[in-house]
């Protein structure tokens, strides 16, 4: 019995279950930031160059690839026991297929990481935790007049791991860090088979929340994938601030009315300051 069957058997697909789950999400965030003891808070600002490739068969079977820009603001909070990272981002890219057709993509979202130190040093070694990705993406195909601006929105949760290793080179402090995450369970809302509107607008509803409920689909392995690897090198300034050179790779696939696939890499430079 596969995962789909299990979910159907417990009849959550056509109930208000996922609506209630979405409404409960803010509590997860609140829980993540409750902590005691010595607290290390930091704010980070990044700007980057995005290298992206996407395929939305709702527009074209062809791959659209190109570059863009990105901006990130991250807030991190570390205690002896755990660390949290909230990453708010926006990215815009102009993509072309091999015949020159263009597509503009805008993405924005919030990514949350929560790592448990499990008795280890916070600044060193491997830490396990979980992640939450909330991302909205809008695609504008320049050669399409109707049903343009196809979109997808994902809220998902999954395990995450962080590896940190500080080292000294020529008497200066550096550290390398890599975060990896894999989204396993969540919710998706996206453009439907022909229309750019989600499914809820294509069935008879009582409006409002009912449209929303009927537009939301489950995110689970096999139907949707989202993984990311974020390595970076940091250099500590004399002031205690950190300069970062990093790369964030993300792959996602959503099997809805069409199979949407995205592969994005983001090279960035950033500065991190203590609060």
């Amino acid at each position: 019995m596969n995962a789909v069957r299990v979910f159907k058997d417990i009849n959550v697909f056509h109930s208000g279950f996922h609506t209630r789950c979405i409404l409960l999400m803010p509590l997860f965030f609140l829980y993540s930031f409750i902590g005691v003891g010595q607290v290390n808070k930091r704010l980070e600002l990044n700007a980057g160059l995005l290298v992206s490739a996407e395929r939305d068969p709702g527009f074209s079977p062809l791959l659209f690839a190109g570059t863009g820009i990105s901006g990130y603001a991250a807030y991190s909070r570390e205690t002896e026991a755990k660390s949290n990272l909230v990453d708010v981002f926006y990215a815009r890219s102009s993509l072309n297929n091999r015949f020159g057709s263009g597509m503009d993509v805008h993405s924005a979202g919030i990514m949350v990481f929560h790592f448990f130190h499990d008795g280890k040093e916070p600044g060193k070694g491997l830490h396990w935790g979980w992640s939450n990705n909330n991302e909205f993406s809008l695609r504008n195909n320049e050669s399409v007049n109707n049903f343009n601006n196809r979109f997808d929105y994902v809220t998902s949760f999954g395990p995450a791991a962080r590896f940190r290793h500080p080292f000294t080179l020529f008497g200066r402090s550096f550290s390398i860090q890599a975060i990896a995450h894999m989204q396993l369970l969540g919710f998706v809302m996206q453009s439907s088979y022909v229309s750019q509107a989600p499914k809820g607008y294509e069935v008879e509803t009582v409006g409002g929340l009912d449209i929303f409920r009927r537009s939301v689909e489950w995110f689970y392995p096999g139907r949707a994938w989202n993984i990311g690897v974020w390595p970076r090198l940091q250099y500590q300034l004399e002031t205690g601030n950190l300069l970062s050179l990093g790369y964030q790779y993300g792959y996602s696939r959503l099997d809805g009315a069409h199979r949407l696939t995205k592969s994005r890499g983001n090279w960035y430079l950033g500065i991190q300051a203590g609060l």
Partner: protein, 341 residues
């Protein structure tokens, strides 16, 4: 740093870089390659997408499987682009739909049966010389002139945007007149938003003028529910008197929708020839070889249960009379003026 510790540091760096290297600057290569662009695959891609997303097979009684079987035999490896384009164009022609086009760098296929073979019923020179004259106003895309206490409005394309300020000026000019004539003959359509804005100037209440549904899946019966399409009264000045809409076979797409919006209003009449249709909103696609295409993916029904795709009928059927046309008279416009007098 002892040797064991050094090994650990080196190992950590190798793992770090190793985890990142597969992804660095090869974002494009981690997704599936583009589908092959050979003639056979291009043909099958187009045939299948039309099969799954075209909305009017049943309305037009078209057996797309049979059409595919007929044209598939004409496709062979190594055929040049012109020959392939010709086969695909001929196949799409079978849909008998003005909203169906295949566009390559060298040609654009089309089916213009919806107006070809019918009387033109419109002569732009006569409109300019006899009715608009030299003192007409150009209010945005709306050419307008007062003729015998009737406001005549000539609108060439629903693709040309009408703003609220254009409509304010138009309503101001129509105030106190006996009636308004909206001439959308030879108007090939454009934006439904413009059609709604213009029709809202004459709506005294909200009218449901049609219902539409859209393809929601690949199956022949995969459609959304029927959704009401309505036109609501405009905020601001409106005209409550009689309105005549002039249409012909070249009034297509958004023009057909506008004609249907006006047709449900009791104080409006349609004069001329039925519209050309175009009741399906086109969805766009791209073939593996980069050629673009579009076809209808919605159905639109009037309250009487007729598909707008087959054209909106008129209340008063009238053709341009050749002899009158020779004398510079527009018979259809004269009928409208008579009706309003």
């Amino acid at each position: 740093m002892n040797r064991k510790k050094l090994y650990k540091v080196v190992l950590a760096h190798v793992i770090m870089l190793g985890s990142a290297l597969p992804f660095l600057s090869c974002e494009k290569h981690l997704l599936a390659p583009d589908p092959p662009a050979d003639p056979g695959n291009v043909f099958e891609y187009l045939w299948e997408d039309v099969y799954k997303r075209y909305a009017l097979f049943e309305v037009k009684d078209i057996d797309w499987v049979a059409v595919g079987n007929t044209f598939r035999t004409k496709v062979h490896p190594g055929m040049d682009d012109q020959a392939l384009f010709s086969v695909l164009s001929d196949m799409l022609y079978e849909l008998r739909d003005g909203h169906v086009n295949l566009t390559s760098s060298f040609d654009r296929s089309r089916n213009w049966e919806w107006f070809q073979g019918h009387l033109p019923n419109y002569n732009q020179s006569i409109i300019e010389n006899r009715y608009l004259g030299t003192s007409f106003r150009i209010t945005g895309p709306l050419l307008n002139q007062v003729i015998d206490s009737v406001l005549y409005v000539n609108y060439r394309s629903f693709g040309d945007e009408i703003t609220q300020s254009h409509l304010d000026q138009l309503m101001l000019r129509a105030e106190g007149l006996k009636g308004v004539i909206i001439d959308i003959r030879h108007n090939g359509g454009g934006s439904l938003q413009n059609a709604n804005r213009l029709a809202a100037c004459f709506a005294d209440r909200t009218y449901v003028y049609a219902h539409d549904r859209i393809k929601t899946g690949p199956g022949p019966d995969d459609f959304s529910h029927w959704r009401p399409l309505s036109v609501a009264p405009r905020q601001g000045m409106r005209f409550g008197g009689p309105v005549v809409v002039l249409v012909n076979r070249r009034s297509y797409s958004a023009s057909s929708f506008f004609a249907q919006m006006m047709r449900v209003m009791p104080h409006a009449v349609l004069i001329g020839d039925q519209t050309g249709g175009g009741g399906g909103i086109p969805v766009f696609g791209e073939l593996p070889n980069g050629w673009k295409y579009r076809f209808s993916s919605t159905q639109t029904l009037t309250p009487e249960g007729n598909h707008i795709e087959t054209g909106v009928p008129v209340d008063i059927r009238r053709n341009m009379q050749s002899i009158e046309e020779l004398h510079g008279i527009d018979s259809i416009l004269e009928t409208a003026l008579d009706w309003l007098r």
